[in-house]
């Protein structure tokens, strides 16, 4: 099978996984989580196969262009959320992630692959840098998700008449803790991603900073997360404020990242 077939299979399985995650939110039957998890795990296996197959086909690490980029990002998000699920058993966390991963793979399936063969892309820096970056963004997405869950649960508790989310979402403390750990993890990965990016720049261009919008986006995100860390560590900004910060931080990351990607004539040598 070629990578296209694998990716199509992945899409199908992620659809099943995402659909059952949403069904779980409505009906809250344990069996639905089981189906969702099984389908997603299976999809992830095919996704991994698709990536490795694509790597061979393209001759370089496949994360360039919309098709490969979206697919790789989805892969990392699913991996991060599977890890979150395995360590915390919070079903609700996958509520955003699986549909989002499905959407990304859907987009990837619709777009043709960009077949650019630049010798620069054979550098080992590329996969290392990209892995660190997607895990960083995946973890920040997890922090965002836990922030949203926190606010929903808080609203539920303040309303004093529990409805669906009261039962679906874990305790405030748990959302807060998982969100905090995600911020820490995401921050670590993002820092390393920036460092490797700068080193790669240096080996390519002889200087660390090239002024590429993606560099600015990454640094903006990094600064936001430093602010979150400081606010919590120094100012005791936990709970609701931490939830809002994680959401705002992730929004800025998405915005800057999109902007940097869409700016024309960008990123020829870099990424």
């Amino acid at each position: 099978m070629d990578s296209r077939a694998y990716l199509l299979l992945t899409l199908f399985l992620y659809a099943v996984g995402a659909f059952h995650a949403l069904l779980f939110a409505v009906f809250r039957r344990t069996i639905l989580t089981t189906v969702s998890l099984t389908a997603t795990l299976l999809g992830f296996a095919f996704h991994t196969a698709a990536l490795s197959q694509r790597w061979t086909e393209a001759g370089h690490f496949p994360a360039l262009g919309l098709r490969d980029g979206a697919s790789f990002l989805a892969w990392a998000i699913v991996l991060v959320f599977l890890a979150v699920y395995v360590t915390t058993r919070v079903d609700a966390a996958s509520l955003f992630a699986y549909p989002f991963a499905f959407a990304l793979v859907f987009v990837a399936n619709l777009t043709p692959a960009s077949e650019r063969a630049d010798p620069v892309l054979r550098s080992l820096y590329l996969p290392i840098h990209l892995f660190l970056a997607v895990f960083g963004y995946g973890a920040l997405f997890a922090a965002f998700t836990m922030g949203v869950l926190y606010l929903f649960q808080e609203r539920e508790l303040l309303s004093r008449s529990p409805r669906r989310f009261y039962y679906l979402i874990p305790s405030l403390e748990r959302s807060d803790t998982i969100g905090w750990r995600s911020v820490l993890g995401g921050f670590g990965f993002l820092t390393l991603a920036i460092v490797t990016g700068l080193l790669w720049n240096h080996s390519l261009h002889g200087r660390y900073w090239t002024g590429d919008p993606k560099e600015w986006a990454a640094v903006a995100a990094w600064i936001i997360y430093v602010a979150i860390l400081v606010a919590r560590g120094r100012g005791g900004w936990g709970g609701r404020r931490a939830a809002w910060l994680a959401i705002a931080g992730f929004a800025v990351v998405v915005f800057t990242f999109t902007w940097a990607t869409l700016v024309p004539a960008v990123a020829v040598g870099g990424r």
């Binding site: 809250r28 009261y166 039962y167 005791g236 709970g239």
Partner: protein, 415 residues
């Protein structure tokens, strides 16, 4: 045949349930009597505050005899008791036994005590020697089914009593309660039950006492915490995570200003105020302070009702699991019926063979031993060959859980 005769909270008022209850220490005597007087091969008596039931195995239908026994044993007139009793046989009795064990028949659906009570009832029957293979099988299957229903559905998951709802809400806010501080304002029964649960979960307790400081000290000692006078309210509020207030005071005890002062000292840590007093202890607008979750008794009851609805939603899933288990149990019971059928079938065939040999002999006159032998061999071979396939098939069907053919075969051979 399995029979169940009894009453529960739905069929009988508490006065009748009390009157027919069996005290634990007289169970073995009662079991012996019910077996004797109602002709039960095996018997189990389940007596809780919400139900009194006799489970039995009988060769014929003896539900009326059990009903009479219940009245006679408790010196009641049968007419007074009978309208409250259900008398179930066979499949209905089995279904009832399964539903009771899984607490689908309980007043508060999904309550966990009933399974323990059911197990105890069977154990008592076992000790007094009135438990045989049939009711043992019923116990094993119904207890296993109940456990399955509890783990695979949420029928027992959400709290439905005031103190448990309070604990569960605290967990929804703070996660685990280890190292959390619980402050009791006033020493009431409901606060105590909730606080005990929280302390079991690892929380620290302190008790504020008003006029009856002694009571506060006693409760604090029981909870392994400390007592403080009501004047220390603000300082204690600042330290507490969970406050359970249940004083008998006529007016407000915890004002909004107290809560605001406490919150200022807590750097936004959440504060969970549970007001179970009527009239209320906590000013209603204290709940508007940021980071404060205020629940009064009505709010807690709203949550309890929502939880009960949540459980009932799970009931159909639990019923489906039980239905599956009940079917398996009934099929297994029926498969046991195939053995006597096979014996009977063979006996009947042999009977026919013998009569026909007799008839033939009369017609043929005396036979040589060789002829005699040949006649025996020929007829036996016919019977054996004819019965071989049905025997194999029936055994297989019973093993596969398709014992419904038993009745058909009986009819076919006129057994």
């Amino acid at each position: 045949m399995i029979v169940v005769v009894g009453l529960n909270h739905e069929t009988a008022p508490v006065a009748v349930r009390e009157a027919l209850a069996f005290p634990k220490e007289r169970l073995s005597e009662a079991l012996a009597r019910v077996r004797e007087e109602a002709g039960l091969g095996e018997a189990v008596i389940l007596s809780t505050c919400n139900r009194v039931e006799v489970y039995g195995r009988s060769t014929d239908s003896s539900v009326d005899a059990v009903a009479e026994f219940l009245a006679r044993y408790h010196s009641r007139r049968l007419e007074d008791v009978a309208p409250h009793l259900y008398r179930l046989e066979g499949e209905a009795a089995v279904r009832h036994a399964f539903r009771v064990a899984a607490s689908l028949d309980s007043m508060v659906m999904g309550e966990p005590q009933i399974l323990g009570q059911v197990k105890e009832a069977y154990e008592a029957a076992e000790r007094s020697g009135s438990l045989g293979s049939v009711l043992t099988a019923l116990r094993n299957r119904s207890v296993a089914a109940a456990k399955r229903a509890r783990t695979e559905t949420a029928i027992g998951r959400n709290a439905v009593s005031v103190s448990h709802v309070a604990v569960e809400l605290a967990r929804k806010i703070f996660g685990e309660l280890r190292e959390r501080s619980v402050l009791l304002v006033g020493a009431g029964k409901m606060s105590e039950v909730a606080a005990r649960q929280m302390v079991r979960d690892g929380a620290r307790a302190s008790v504020l006492g008003g006029r009856t400081f002694e009571k506060a000290e006693q409760l604090a000692a029981a909870l392994g915490g400390r007592a403080a006078p009501l004047e220390a309210l603000r300082a204690e509020l600042a330290r507490a995570d969970i406050v359970i207030s249940g004083t008998g005071a006529p007016g407000i005890v915890i004002r909004r200003e107290d809560v605001e002062a406490a919150q200022a000292a807590r750097r936004g840590r959440p504060l969970f105020l549970i007001d179970i007093a009527v009239p209320r202890d906590v000013a209603p607008d204290a709940g508007k302070v940021s980071g404060v979750f205020l629940y009064d008794l009505d709010d807690i009851k709203t949550v309890a009702e929502a939880n009960l609805r949540e459980r009932k939603k799970e009931a159909s899933a639990a019923e489906a699991i039980l239905e599956h288990e009940i079917r398996e149990f009934l099929e297994w019971r029926r498969s046991l019926e195939v053995v006597p059928l096979l014996v009977e079938l063979r006996r009947r065939a042999d009977e026919i063979r013998r009569t026909e040999i007799e008839k033939a002999r009369r017609r043929l006159g005396s036979l040589t031993p060789e002829q005699e032998k040949a006649l025996e061999a020929a007829t036996s071979a016919i019977v054996n060959k004819l019965l071989h396939e049905p025997t194999v098939q029936l055994k297989q069907m019973a093993g596969n859980g398709q014992p419904e053919h038993v009745g058909f075969i009986r009819k076919l051979f006129g057994l």
